[in-house]
């Protein structure tokens, strides 16, 4: 392979609840088309996160119990992760990972659980209610539509410098009130989407992949990615 990206799967052994690994698998699949490969390191409890080593970071969602443990350990990586994000390091944070990049979220027993405040959002909780179901959003700058499945109790409110990943067309999104879903801040993307989001949304997968490739190889041409289109009906014997 001509190009190599180094990815950090943050707490991949604890924050892996909804097929989050599929985001990296999908990126790796598209990367092949431009002769790129993705190495993945597990960066978990007591491990160091070196912002200069990585070209992409995935921070998935976990179960409540695991998340409280991660929240504590995450504080030791706060400076490094913040530096990575501020320097424009591409990052995808899903569900609990998305919440923990912000200031705090409310745990299962009503307790306030610290994030790292690398992004300016915060997350409250709903009383005995979850947003569960299929969701569709529209991304403002590209006009692209993204599809996913949401299942969250938390209600997230975006802050300074943050814009939503998309406007909710169907479903609930960040908080069920302001029609926002997810976040974009510099090259960091956050979302409540399971699916996983990059496996179900080719355009977004390629967008983030291209960001990461272009950042590491500024002189290379990755426009071949734009022409790629995954045709999942190609091998259908009788068209639906």
């Amino acid at each position: 392979m001509t190009y190599t990206l180094n990815a950090a799967h943050l707490y991949g052994d604890l924050m892996n609840t909804y097929g989050d690994i599929g985001n990296i698998l999908a990126m790796r699949y598209y990367a092949k088309a431009v002769d790129a490969t993705i190495n993945v390191d597990l960066v978990s409890l007591d491990d160091e996160f070196d912002p200069d080593t990585y070209d992409f970071a995935l921070f998935g969602g976990g179960q409540d119990y695991e998340q409280t443990i991660v929240s504590k350990d995450l504080q030791t990586k706060k400076a490094a992760l913040t530096a990575y994000i501020e320097a424009g390091g591409p990052c995808l944070a899903i569900c609990g990972g998305f919440q923990m990049l912000g200031h705090y979220y409310i745990g299962a027993n009503g307790e306030k659980i610290a994030g790292i405040g690398a992004l300016d959002h915060y997350t409250l909780s709903q009383d005995n209610h979850r947003f569960i179901g299929n969701i569709t959003i529209k991304n403002a700058e590209t006009g692209q539509t993204y599809y996913g499945f949401e299942n969250h109790n938390g209600t997230t409110f975006l802050g300074k410098g943050e814009r939503p990943l998309g406007e909710v067309l169907q479903g609930n999104g960040n908080n069920g009130q302001d029609k926002s879903e997810g976040v974009i801040y510099k090259n960091t993307f956050g979302s409540y989407f399971h699916g996983p989001i990059l496996a179900r949304n080719e355009a977004l997968a390629k967008r983030i992949l291209k960001l990461a490739l272009q950042r590491k190889y500024p002189d290379a041409d990755f426009s071949a990615l734009d022409e790629l289109h995954e045709d999942l009906t190609k091998n259908v014997v009788i068209k639906p």
Partner: protein
């Protein structure tokens, strides 16, 4: 006995008789009617029974079937609930329709995790069996810890009942309980020091919240776990699988506590089910040789969630999948097949399937390219998701046929290049395929 419970019993029995006679069915409605008239009807119906409750996310059905086989070696009167009737109404129906029992009959009940408390409110079981708790349709029941807590909420009403639990699962050693506990597990491998793969649930030590290590591991987060940080480790096993001799897709040979056993069902996960059945058998004083006889008995084939049928000259094995652990176990099982075979994966996302399809990304489909499979089918209502999943796993387009509409499945199966075909399907995809097969006279029309 109250007037209410008499009336409820009579109503339920009449409803069953009517449905059974004129409609050929009736698994939950009689229970529902009886419960309307007397919410505590179970107390009345089950008063003479010694009850064993089998619960957990995976393997309940087969463990229940095997346990019944084992206990029948010694106990003539055993009541059990049919597959799928593992919630309150189905259990009430089971008792309503039971043949007249003798002195102290046994009831072996498969009970849905959240419904354990519905049973223990009215019945004090003699024993509980905990098979395992894996991530399963989390859009319904939440996390593994909350699922376990639901079971324990039910168990709390029967603090004297013996718990027979899978000792290889750390979760079942995470809470202090008043009940006597007997553990079973795998104990045939040399002790080493390994980690579970990162993409596994439930890896935290419940004591000190560090990542668990394993002296040996079977699958998922199960095995001879220990925490080098605080000393937490697998409890002493009462029932040990001490040798694993041979595994094929249709059988396993192994030893438990020195007793050689042959099981006419493939898959490592089914050995766990057999271990549970062995444990219950020993707990109920069935001799090991009799247990061996029951498990190897081939008269009444117990397939659990798999079924074999023939399409033209193809031998097709249809297997229900609903979560990553189950799927990975199926992939492990078919990898023991030495014959050439084709592979089909059918995905729906209706309520009974689990409406979130994310779990397919936690399934180890990456194993498929290693198995030299010449042809694949992907299909079902969510054919796009499963097709992309297979492609990402390394299945090439030339090997792949996509079947969105399952009415085309039989034709697609006939076109496959191998005699052996494995079809994994989520629940409603399986029902749709079975309906299709039944309409073509390939299988009987009844429910699986």
């Amino acid at each position: 006995m109250s007037i209410n419970s008499l009336l409820a019993t009579w109503t339920g029995k009449s409803a069953y008789w009517f449905l059974h006679t004129f409609r050929g069915g009736g698994s939950s409605l009689p229970g529902k009617l009886a419960l309307k008239l007397d919410p505590a009807i179970l107390k009345h119906l089950a008063r003479n029974y010694e009850v064993i409750v089998i619960t957990g996310t995976n393997g309940k059905t087969l463990t229940t079937a095997l346990t019944v086989k084992v206990l029948r070696e010694q106990y003539p009167d055993i009541l059990t609930n049919p597959t799928g009737s593992n919630m309150k109404q189905g259990i009430v129906t089971t008792f309503l329709t039971a043949p007249k029992a003798h002195q102290k009959p046994l009831a072996v009940l498969e009970v849905d995790e959240a419904n354990v408390i519905m049973v223990t409110k009215y019945i004090t079981p003699k024993a509980f069996v905990f098979t395992n708790i894996f991530r399963d349709q989390m859009d319904r029941y939440g996390e593994i810890y909350t699922t376990y807590q639901k079971i324990l909420d039910g168990v709390a009403l029967a603090p004297d009942a013996t718990i027979i639990a899978n000792g290889d699962l750390p979760l079942f050693n995470s809470k202090k309980l008043p009940n006597p506990i007997l553990y079973y597990g795998f104990d045939y491998q040399a002790a080493g020091d390994e980690h579970a793969p990162a993409n596994t649930d439930g890896l935290l030590c419940p004591n000190c919240q560090h990542i668990l290590h394993y002296r040996s591991r079977t699958y998922s987060n199960m095995g001879d776990y220990f925490c080098p940080h605080c000393g937490f480790e697998r409890p002493q096993l009462t029932y040990k699988l001490n040798a694993l001799t041979e595994m094929t897709p249709t059988s396993s040979d192994f030893e438990i506590n020195g007793q050689a056993l042959h099981l006419n069902i493939g898959g490592q996960y089914n050995i766990y089910n057999a271990l549970a059945a062995f444990a219950v058998g020993r707990f109920m004083d069935v001799r090991p040789a009799k247990i061996a006889h029951a498990l190897s008995d081939n008269d009444e084939q117990v397939f659990g969630r798999q079924e074999i049928f023939h399409v033209g000259d193809k031998d097709v094995t249809l297997i229900l999948v609903k979560n990553p652990v189950g799927l990975n176990q199926v992939l492990q099982m078919i990898s023991t097949d030495e014959r050439p075979f084709s592979f089909a994966a059918l995905l729906n996302a209706n309520y009974a399937d689990g409406i979130d399809t994310s779990w397919i990304w936690d399934g180890d489909f990456e194993k498929l390219p290693e198995l030299n499979i010449p042809a694949f089918i992907s299909g079902g209502e969510r054919y796009r998701d499963i097709t992309f999943r297979l492609k990402v796993a390394g299945v090439s387009e030339d090997q792949l046929t996509v079947i969105p509409d399952l009415t085309n499945m039989t034709a697609a199966i006939q076109n496959l290049p191998t005699k052996q075909v494995y079809v994994v399907a989520t629940y409603t995809a399986m029902l749709q395929l079975r309906k299709q097969l039944a309409s073509q006279g390939i299988i009987d029309g009844g429910m699986a």
